[in-house]
């Protein structure tokens, strides 16, 4: 016997339950058919001619690049300062930090990231990054090989991604922060 829902809320609730059940069934099928490999979630974006990424767990927010106040006499990689959730953060030029020379387009986005020491900062970027995954095994192998803050990781389709280790990047730049008054 089919029971007709009596109210709108009950009808919506029933639809939601059905949807969730369908999703659960789909996930169960995937689990049975595919052998899953452990993956590392990353936020991928273009920098100049290359593809770069940072660990998704370090990304706190992506903001439009505005309301940044320049800081005269600061280090060359400092674009300025901005306010984020009541805090004053530094906006840094990622290209400059990585020893790059520029972007293909003027950056329009700021990525608020955890530097690895609990402090936040913002990095400029051409576009909002794309969330994607890398096999953990490839990331670990690249980490062993890498000497600096950038690890070269190949995706399954042989694409090269430069994965940035923020902790290493900022420990390398620490101490080179200030340029003294001229």
């Amino acid at each position: 016997m089919k029971v007709t829902p009596r109210t709108l809320e009950e009808s919506q609730e029933a639809e939601a339950r059905e949807l969730l059940e369908r999703r659960a069934a789909r996930l169960r099928e995937q689990g049975e058919s595919a052998v899953e490999e452990a993956v590392h979630w990353i936020a991928e974006f273009p920098l100049g001619e290359e593809r770069y990424a940072l660990s998704l767990e370090s990304l706190r927010a992506a903001l439009p690049l505005k309301m940044v106040s320049a800081v005269p006499l600061s280090a060359p990689h400092v674009v300025g300062v901005l306010r984020f959730q009541g805090q004053v953060l530094a906006a840094l030029s990622l290209a400059s930090l990585l020893g790059g020379h520029g972007w293909r387009q003027d950056p329009a986005v700021l990525l608020v990231v955890d530097r690895g020491d609990g402090e936040l900062c913002a990095l400029d970027c051409e576009a909002i990054p794309r969330p994607t995954t890398l096999p953990v095994s490839a990331v670990e192998a690249a980490r062993v090989r890498a000497e600096g803050a950038v690890m070269e990781v190949f995706t399954q389709d042989r694409q090269l991604i430069h994965l940035i280790d923020l902790k290493r990047l900022f420990s390398a730049t620490r101490g080179a922060g200030a340029r003294h008054a001229r």
């Binding site: 100049g48 001619e49 690049l65 309301m67 940044v68 106040s69 320049a70 800081v71 005269p72 006499l73 600061s74 280090a75 060359p76 990689h77 400092v78 674009v79 300025g80 300062v81 901005l82 306010r83 009541g86 805090q87 004053v88 953060l89 530094a90 840094l92 030029s93 290209a95 400059s96 790059g100 020379h101 520029g102 972007w103 293909r104 387009q105 003027d106 950056p107 402090e119 900062c121 400029d124 922060g177 200030a178 340029r179 003294h180 008054a181 001229r182």
Partner: protein
């Protein structure tokens, strides 16, 4: 000795009360040790001391803590011979009394914690106390002669600073128990309200401007009603803004009352520590405090206490000389330590100074090299301030042996770490033979600071109002222009003229133009006349600390949020009045980067500076023309696609002017087509780079190439 379980509940309260009484007794003892007190003052102190000790004895006995009562009794005994003939208290007696008080407090706390059963028999400690005390007649004689006739016992090791409990334990009707995060959240809301008030003020100004614009249209009769309505709303908004301001102030006062306590509450243990340590080292020291009444966040005070202990211990151990050495140097035998506390807005200034020997920079250099803190090559490049700052490096110590006090190379680096952990900064100044000053600047959560907002080119800059003595307009008759610098005649004195734009590296140095605003800025007894392009107005702002990436830039104190949410950098007045080293700029090539993208400007600047250029920036074509009218450049790097005036239009303007007709210009564009390239070169550009080419590292090479081609053509 166990306490009656029935009375145990009262013992905790007694321990708290005892701490307070012991602190008072300690301060009285330190006072009695001083020379030069009048007999009346001495009598009062002895009476008060006796009363306090008696209170301790009576209260302890009434709660059944006989051990504590016995200790207090012995202390009364030690005091008795001096009470009858009030005079300066001999140091051995003070030592015994302080030692006894430490013992008393330790045992009181143990009783309060329910550990009374485990306490050792007090007999031995009491016997030691009696043995240490000079015989009554000797104590009186010592007091009369004013000299310590017997060898002073070694002072007992100073206990860890005793923290004063915030309040009596809460009972259900005493109030509310709130957590720190709840109060912090309230503080954030107050800060937001302060920003809302700024926005309300801004809206009021906008309404007034709108009413004025309508009046300028000339249709006075037709717009009368609208103007009246606008003016009325502006007035109401002003009143609302004032009321909001009052509410913000009241909320802040309320929060302050909850979250702060006077600095003096952490001073008593410091006084005691200075006294004990100087005794231990055979020195004489007196700690004076200015600003003890300033109330600070309790958490900040607790965190600062450790840093202050370090600084004062350091001052006694390393700074102050032995009494005989001081007298030989023409100083008073007693060293002066001063702790100065001042809060301006939401910034706390704390200064710990001594009048000792000062820091010997050469010794610091030698020891830092010996201990491997730095290499000789590094120190060869350091100036005097950088050498002095080596004392903050981990592993640095001037002690050649490890003592109880120092020598382990752990100290000032820990102080700096704790100050930086509070988002503050620490600096040191020292004069050989005269002493050393440590200056701490720390942000606090509450309070706002009056700030004068000025503009230099496109950059808004805030100046703490307290540093601005006067404002005036530049007049040729009051300026004295020299070859290298200008001076202003101000109140019968010649004051150096400092161009804020040049000082911030935004433009080349030039004397002030007629009518340009000049601000008389003072700091630490020095004054300069600061040249700015415009005075925007004064604001009441919350100054926040800068992030670590820019915290070490000496020009900036912090940043404050303006009404539209943008940040305003606040300049440090002491940096403005400091003489700068004359940099050889003649040999450096100069580039002007014109781009409406902040990040592109920053990136081009970084690359050109790495190539040895002095770089100035402009955010638009119009700004670039202004800059080129007053400064000279070797090359201009210009974005092709800018609003209002694009790169092609800017080149056309430059080529019209004889002085810039042959100035090398490189266009930079996101367009990478041959059509765009040809269009740019046809317009008069000397070079054209796509952003893709810039990304590939071509900018510097192109700049050098273009300059060389222009040079050979010339």
């Amino acid at each position: 000795m166990p306490v009656d379980p029935m009375l145990q509940g009262l013992v905790a309260g007694f321990a708290v009360e005892a701490q307070e009484v012991v602190q008072k007794v300690t301060m009285d003892l330190l006072e009695l040790e001083r020379e030069g007190l009048e007999t009346d003052a001495l009598t009062k102190l002895y009476v008060r001391l006796g009363r306090h000790l008696h209170t301790l004895k009576g209260s302890a006995a009434s709660l059944g803590m006989q051990d504590l009562s016995d200790i207090a009794h012995k202390l009364e005994d030690a005091l008795a011979p001096l009470k009858s003939n009030p005079q300066k208290m001999p140091r051995p007696v003070v030592d015994v009394l302080l030692h006894g008080l430490d013992l008393f407090l330790l045992r009181a706390q143990a009783h309060a914690d329910g550990r009374g059963d485990a306490l050792p028999d007090p007999a031995a400690a009491l016997a030691q106390l009696v043995a240490d005390a000079p015989p009554p007649e000797e104590a009186a004689a010592m007091g009369a002669s004013g000299v310590a006739a017997v060898s002073a016992p070694v002072a007992a090791p100073a206990p860890e600073p005793v923290s004063v409990p915030d309040a009596m334990p809460e009972s259900s009707d005493a109030g509310w128990r709130v957590s720190a995060w709840q109060v912090t959240a309230l503080m954030r809301e107050v800060e937001r309200l302060r920003e809302v008030r700024l926005r309300v003020e801004e809206r009021g100004r906008e309404l007034e401007r709108a009413a004025q614009l309508l009046a300028k249209q000339g249709l006075l009769a037709e717009t009368a009603e609208a103007r009246t309505a606008l003016s009325g709303t502006a007035r109401s908004l002003r009143t609302d803004g004032e009321e909001t301001s009052d509410i913000v102030d009241a909320l802040e006062e309320g929060l302050k009352a909850i979250t702060t306590r006077p600095v003096r509450t952490i001073l008593d243990p410091l006084q005691r520590m200075v006294r004990d340590l100087s005794r231990q080292l055979g020195k004489e020291a007196r700690l004076s405090v200015v600003g003890a009444e300033v109330s600070l966040d309790r958490r900040l005070l607790e965190k600062l206490q450790g840093a202050l202990v370090h600084l004062l211990r350091n001052a006694v151990d390393h700074g102050l000389e032995l009494p005989a050495d001081r007298e030989r140097a023409g100083k008073h035998h007693e060293g002066a330590l001063t702790l100065r506390v001042e809060q301006q807005g939401n910034l706390l200034y704390l200064e710990a100074s001594d009048d000792g020997a000062g820091i010997d920079v050469e010794t610091v250099r030698r020891l830092a090299e010996q201990r491997g803190v730095v290499t000789a090559e590094e120190t060869a490049r350091f100036n005097e301030n950088q050498l002095r700052d080596l004392i903050f490096r981990p592993g640095f110590s001037t002690r050649t042996d490890v003592t109880d006090t120092s020598g382990r190379g752990v100290g000032l680096d820990a102080v700096r770490a704790s100050v930086e952990g509070l988002q503050g900064r620490i600096e040191v100044a020292s004069t050989p033979g005269q002493g050393t000053r440590f200056m701490l600047t720390l942000p606090t959560d509450l309070g706002s600071s009056p700030v004068l907002v000025v503009r230099v080119l496109e950059q808004l800059v805030g100046l703490p109002m307290l540093a601005v003595e006067a404002t005036q307009l530049a007049r040729a008759e009051s300026l004295r222009l020299g070859k290298r610098r200008a001076h202003l005649e101000y109140q019968g004195q010649l004051v150096s003229v400092v161009d804020l734009g040049a000082r911030l590296g935004l433009r080349a140095l030039a004397p002030p133009a007629e009518g340009q605003p000049l601000l008389i800025v003072q700091s630490g007894g020095k004054r300069v006349a600061l040249v700015v392009d415009a005075v925007v107005g004064d604001r009441d702002l919350v100054i926040r600390p800068l992030p670590s990436e820019v915290r070490d830039v000496p020009a900036w104190q912090g940043a404050a949020t303006l009404s539209r949410g943008e940040l305003l950098l606040i300049c440090r007045p002491d940096w403005l009045v400091t003489e700068t080293v004359q940099v050889q700029v003649t040999a450096q090539r100069r580039a002007l980067v014109v781009d409406d993208s902040l990040t592109a400007r920053a990136l081009h600047r970084a690359m050109l500076e790495a190539g040895g250029f002095t770089v100035h920036l402009a955010a638009s074509g119009a700004r670039a023309l202004d800059r080129l009218a007053t400064d000279t450049y070797d090359v201009v790097i210009c974005d092709l696609d800018m609003e209002e005036m694009d790169g092609i239009q800017l080149i056309a303007k430059l080529r019209e002017r004889p002085e810039t007709a042959s100035l090398p210009v490189i266009l930079v564009s996101a367009h990478d087509s041959s059509v765009a390239r040809e269009r740019g070169l046809r317009a008069g550009a000397d070079g054209y780079l796509s952003k893709r080419e810039c990304a590939a590292g071509r900018l510097l090479a192109e700049v050098l190439d273009v300059m060389s081609r222009r040079g050979s053509r010339a």
